[in-house]
């Protein structure tokens, strides 16, 4: 990474009179913006930068050198499934044939519609559900859409009393937040000491006001909820539906499907499980799948494969189409401008085709192998609160006491300190301080695309950091030391808020 070129903003490189574009000459005489009423026009000049092309290219290229991605190094960020993003997918998503206006008549976009339908079918089989919409833009958007499906289902039966949703205390923050946006009240169910849902605590919460329950399985501690068939049965018996947060789907691929666990509605994060890049905060894609009988509630527009008998009629009439766009009255409505982040869906399709049925289950198994290998190799140095086989990820509760991790000591070396020191050694940090069940949570998810050599190097560094914590805690508390910039003043960012160049 790059200290030398750190820091200038494009506005500071701007010089009046420079430009980085070229446009054709105006070949339409007699038309000018000045023909518009001055009242309609912008009065304040913009402060957009003025820069030549090379200045812009260098600026952003140097900035990229101050960034860490999966292509840079190991990224064991728990719950984020930072696996390798194949390059073929990028090439295919950029094919000019896919760069169409969304209002292109379906007849002239049959390739895109077919691709969409193939992906939805493949996801349905992987999930053990009936049908998917690919319109939601991200995981949380998928959660919201899925909860809208659940509410639409209850409303369609005239059952308007179901206004509450059960969410485990270990759930991802988006679960309760999505439920609140969807107009549902949250009922929290406690976890047992081993991190799984307390079924006895769940029972009294169930009743005629429960719309459903949201779960992720394996849960946020990386543990499989073995009592899931019983939980699903209880929720179904009370009239609710089961929602599966697919953020943790990766280890389950081809082994155990959400539909078979008893879930009715779920979302998948294509930017986690199906290898599309995370882009430093999106664009992702959060397809939502439903069990048979709930398809009509999925959002509009829907991509429908035309039945062959109907196809013949269509041929005679206007259109020779295999796929069409359809809007259903029972649908929950629109959640997106059009068919979601289409270019992300193309990438996921390339991944699904590449791996096929032979390798998709192997992705899950190797992710579990990698996670357990790290867990067993580091438990000598880090506190392992739950000692059992994990799935794709697991949680340490900070350093062990003998390595300076005694929570009760005010000078103890924290998870934040360990995370920052890891950056010095060229690794991204794990997810820290989540789940909230442990004070010093450190959630590690290696994914299947990392080699044993990479894991061994990570393990060695983590042990070395533990030794450093014992010998020289200050080294960790002042880390990182070798990154382009050092630890930030987060408090100042809140107390003296500066969100634009103008405010600097």
């Amino acid at each position: 990474m790059n200290r030398e070129y750190y820091g200038k903003l494009i506005f500071e490189l701007s010089q009046p009179g420079r430009k980085g574009y070229s446009l054709p000459k105006n070949e339409f005489k007699g038309y000018s913006l000045l023909q518009l009423d001055a009242m309609s026009l912008r009065q304040t000049p913009t402060i957009l930068p003025e820069a030549d092309e090379l200045t812009v290219v260098r600026h952003y290229t140097n900035m990229s050198n101050n960034n860490f991605g999966v292509d840079t190094g190991f990224y064991p960020l728990g719950s984020c499934t930072m696996k390798y993003n194949p390059k073929l997918n990028e090439e295919l998503a950029a094919l000019p044939g896919f760069n169409q206006h969304p209002l292109t008549p379906a007849k002239f976009a049959q390739g895109s519609l077919k691709l969409y339908d193939e992906v939805q079918k493949t996801l349905a089989e992987i999930a053990g559900l009936s049908r998917f919409t690919l319109n939601p833009y991200a995981g949380a958007h998928g959660e919201l859409t899925g909860l809208m499906v659940i509410r639409s289902y209850h409303m369609s039966r005239g059952d308007v009393a179901r206004t509450k949703i059960i969410v485990p205390d270990s759930a991802h923050g988006t679960n309760p937040a999505s439920a609140a946006v969807c107009g549902l009240q949250i009922v929290e169910v406690k976890s047992l000491a081993d991190g799984t849902v307390d079924v006895e605590a769940l029972k009294p919460l169930l009743g005629p006001d429960i719309a459903g329950m949201m779960m992720t399985n394996p849960n946020t501690l990386g543990l499989f909820e073995t009592r899931i068939p019983e939980i699903a049965k209880l929720v179904h018996e009370c009239g609710g539906l089961m929602y599966y947060d697919g953020a943790n789907l990766n280890p389950m691929l081809g082994v155990c499907r959400p539909g078979d666990m008893g879930f009715d509605v779920m979302h998948i994060n294509l930017h986690k499980t199906f290898s599309t890049p995370h882009g430093g905060g999106g664009p992702g894609s959060g397809p939502v799948g439903v069990r048979k009988g709930l398809e009509q509630f999925l959002p509009n527009p829907q991509v429908i494969k035309v039945e062959s008998s109907k196809l013949k009629v269509e041929n005679l009439a206007s259109g020779e189409v295999d796929y069409e766009l359809s809007c259903k009255d029972e649908s929950l409505g629109y959640v997106s401008f059009f068919l979601g982040n289409f270019a992300i869906i193309v990438r996921a399709y390339a991944y699904l085709l590449s791996l096929g049925k032979e390798n998709i289950p192997m992705a899950g198994k190797l992710s579990v192998l990698n996670a357990n290998y790290i867990k067993e190799s580091l438990r000598s140095h880090y506190k392992l609160p739950i000692d059992t086989v994990c799935k794709h990820e697991f949680v340490f509760d900070g350093l062990r006491e003998e390595y300076g991790g005694d929570h009760h000591s005010p000078e103890h070396v924290t998870t934040l300190d360990v995370a920052k020191r890891l950056l010095d050694y060229g690794f991204h940090a794990p997810t820290i301080y989540f789940p909230l069940l442990f004070h010093e949570a450190m959630m590690i998810e290696p994914t299947e695309t990392e080699s044993k050599e990479t894991l061994d190097a990570f393990i060695a560094v983590m042990k070395r950091i533990a030794e450093e914590a014992k010998a020289d805690p200050e080294l960790l508390k002042s880390a990182p030391h070798s990154t382009p910039v050092r630890r930030m003043d987060d408090v100042k960012a809140v107390k003296e808020p500066k969100f634009t160049f103008k405010s600097l």
Binding site: L9, L103, F337, K452
Partner: protein, 443 residues
Amino acid sequence: MYKYFPHTADDVQQMLDVIGVRTLDDLYAEIPEEIKLHRELDIPSEKSEIEVRRIIQDLAAMNKPLTCFAGAGCYDHYTPSVVPFLASRSEFSTSYTPYQAEISQGTLQYIFEYQTMMADLTGMDISNASMYDGSTATAEAMMMCMAAAKKRNRVLISETIQPAVMAVCKTYAKFHGVDLVAVSEKNGVMDKEAARELIEKDDVAGLIVCQPNRYGLIEDFTGLADLCHEHKALLAVNTVASALAVLKTPGEWGADIACGDAQSLGIPMGYGGPYIGYLCTKEALVRKMPGRLVGATTDADGRRTFVLTMQAREQHIRREKATSNICTAQGFMCLYVAAYLSLMGPEGMKEVNELSYASAHYLHDELLKTGRFEEIFDGPYLNEFTLRYKGDAKALRMALAEEGYLLGAPTLFCDGCLTIASTEQRTRQEIDNMVELIKNVAL
């Protein structure tokens, strides 16, 4: 092993030994047998790179490229080659949300630049770090109005807003408990008197208007902000981002929130996405704002640095009390916008709008000259307009598509009308050729 899996047979064995189990399947021993799959997935077999490329290239080839004269929220503006080139830097694209600021200054800095540019274009104080698209950004603005008003749940929305935006707002309103009321239109623009009557009832949390509107018309919002503020309602203005460079800004209109889609700033049409929703507001409303925010601070050496900040609004801290459920948004598209606007600068943005204005007005006049179209509104427009076709508009659109042209979008609730757009990418030759074809289509 498959090419994305680095494990040798020896590696697997050694790792299993460390864990203390015999086989990979033993790692799943706790899962009840009755819910395991016990069969192969019923999906296609693995394919080589050559085969995958061929399959997807064939799908792309099944689509027919059309010369685009459609808008309705997505515009065929040009993307400088530098933009996708810089976006291919995988240090940016393969990173996660920048939680570890020390090794994410690239992402944080381009988002900070994006925030500055969007706040500047909209004439507002601050911008967040992106929403999914223009329609969900507007729905978030709607919920933000309700949250800011506390005890009011009625939000007004102009009937002249883009249909896709209206549809998404209706969905969110239905589930979130927003009483969303459409303000009727008059002569193709929002009926300001109708809006006044509703606002004067003192139960309105906010008013959402659109510029240019679903017919392409430029609306006059004079007096609206004062009216809203007198009655303790917020004003939100949805605008096509590119137009912000030349049209009176939401800030200049006195708006509290500016929202919309920034696809028009160098992002390919890409069959609907990824685009980027923007949401900007006044500093006083920052705590009500959804989504991520990047702020400037200093590091331990006193260097100016950038971090995610004001996170106490967000779902991972506040859970059900958060301002929104949004987590992953469209962060990477901030890079597209920032790089695009860095290249275009103030002059380029003016020129793009000037060219789009000129080509759209030329097309408009040429279509009228055919005698087959009639004007239904006489208001000013930028690069999108609505005309009524005297024949079967749908059939005309399909006939032109067969010839390689996408002539606008059918105008909803307006029989026989098409809403047509042009950009700096359209040449006089293309317009003349299409107009010739139109003359030869049977009425």
